[in-house]
Symmetry: none
Subunit: 202 residues, 2 copies
RNA sequence: UGACACCAGUUUGU
DNA sequence: ACAAACTGGTGTCA
C-alpha cells in the first residue's frame, strides 16, 4: 500500500482532519488501563495522527544545535522534546527532521507493545518534503541502488533513513499497523516545532 | 596558437587576473571617440576579458526559457542581456551557453570594426566546459569527421558551434585579434549570469 | 564511467 | 537580503 496519506477531502488540513477526529487527542481520553509497567495508561483503538518536526539553531554553522519534537496531543505524556546529542551524529536541520520521525514511530511501537495503544493506521505528519519524499518515493530506488543519490554519492543520513524505513515495515509486518506520511505546510506542525525548539533551549 | 587561456599564476581567478588589470573596466575609461555611427564611444587599445554565461529556467522541460548574458564591465553600454527567442532554436542550457559566447565575440567584432576597440588579445571567460572544451579540443576533430560525436550522431548545436569557431578564426585572421577561452567555476561569472537571468525574467 | 553546466523542490537558519 | 542542508531531473561531451 502507498505510504502517502491523502486526506479524504483533497484540500483538508490537519486542523480539519486530525483535530476534528475525536480520537486524535490522547489527553481527552477518560478510559485508563494498567499497562505492563504496572502504571495506568490510556487505551486506544483508533487511527492516530502524530506531528513530527526538527529544528536546528545555527544550521550550517559549526555551532549548530539540533532538536526533535513529537506531538501526539496537548500536554500528552507521550509528547517528545529531545536534543540531538553531539555524539549522535550531525547537527543539521535535515538530520533532526528524520530523527523526529524515527522517535515518533519508536514511541508508537513502544505504546503498542505496552498494550496501551491499539491502532491499525498511523498518519505521520511532517512539513519536510525531504523526509516524506524519501520514505514515499526515493527509498524504493535507494534500496535497489545501494543508497546512492543522483550525484553518485551515498545518500546523506542513510543510517537514519534506513532505520525509519525499517520502523515502517516492522509496524506493518509485525503489528499490522500501516504507517502513512502526510506532507503539510509548516504552519500545521507548530506544536511539534515548539517541542523541538524547547529541546534546543534547555 | 592554443585557444586555451592559462592565467600567469596557475591558481589565479578572474578576480585576481581580470579586475586587477586596469584596462578591464570600460566604464572607467575617460577618453571618447566618435564612432562610425556618429556617437561617442570609448577607445581601447588593450587586452580585454569578457564574461559570457547562459541560463535556462526549467531546463529539460517543455516550458524551458533560455537567456544569454555578456558582461564587459559594471554598467557597460556593451553588456548584453538577451532572451533566446523561441523560433531561434532549442531552449536549453547548453544552447544558451554557446550563444552567449557567440554574442560576446560578435560584439567584439562590432566594436573593432567601429573603431572603438583596439585589442590584440581577448579572453572569453565561461563556466561551461561544454563550450570551452568544444572550442579548444573537440572542434579540431569535428572539423575532420563531419561533426560527429562519439556515438556516431551529429553534434548537437552544431550550427552554433560552427558559428563560434568561425568567429574566433575571423577575429584572428581578419582583425589580428587572438581569442582564448578560460574555463572558470560558476562563482566567477555571476555578473553575466545575472544578465542572462534578467533576460529570461523580462 | 567521468566532467561541467542548467534547473526543480523542500526544510533549517542568520 | 543572505547561506546551509538535502533531494529529484535534463543538457551534453569525452
Amino acid at each position: 500500500m502507498s505510504r502517502i496519506y491523502t486526506p479524504p477531502n483533497g484540500n483538508s488540513t490537519p486542523d480539519d482532519v486530525v483535530y476534528a477526529h475525536p480520537h486524535s487527542d490522547f489527553t481527552n481520553m477518560q478510559q485508563t488501563h494498567m499497562g505492563n509497567d504496572g502504571r495506568f495508561h490510556n487505551i486506544w483503538s483508533c487511527d492516530i495522527a502524530i506531528l513530527a518536526d526538527g529544528a536546528c539553531a545555527g544550521n550550517g554553522t559549526n555551532y549548530a544545535r539540533a532538536g526533535m519534537g513529537v506531538y501526539f496531543a496537548p500536554d500528552s505524556r507521550y509528547n517528545i522534546s529531545e536534543k540531538l546529542e553531539a555524539w549522535d551524529g550531525q547537527q543539521t536541520n535535515q538530520h533532526a527532521e528524520i530523527r523526529a520521525a524515527v522517535l515518533a514511530l519508536e514511541k508508537v511501537i513502544e505504546l503498542v507493545e505496552d498494550g496501551c495503544l491499539q491502532t491499525e493506521n498511523v498518519v505521520l505528519i511532517s512539513d519536510s518534503s525531504y523526509v516524506v519524499d524519501a520514505m514515499t518515493n526515493w527509498v524504493y530506488r535507494w534500496r535497489n541502488n545501494g543508497w546512492m543519490n543522483n550525484r553518485g554519492f551515498e545518500v546523506t543520513n542513510r543510517d537514519d533513513f534506513e532505520r525509519l524505513d525499517r520502523l515502517i515495515n516492522i509496524l506493518d509486518d509485525d503489528f499490522d499497523v500501516s504507517v502513512r506520511l502526510w506532507l503539510v505546510p509548516r504552519c500545521y506542525v507548530q506544536e511539534a516545532d515548539r517541542l523541538a525548539k524547547d529541546a534546543i533551549n534547555s
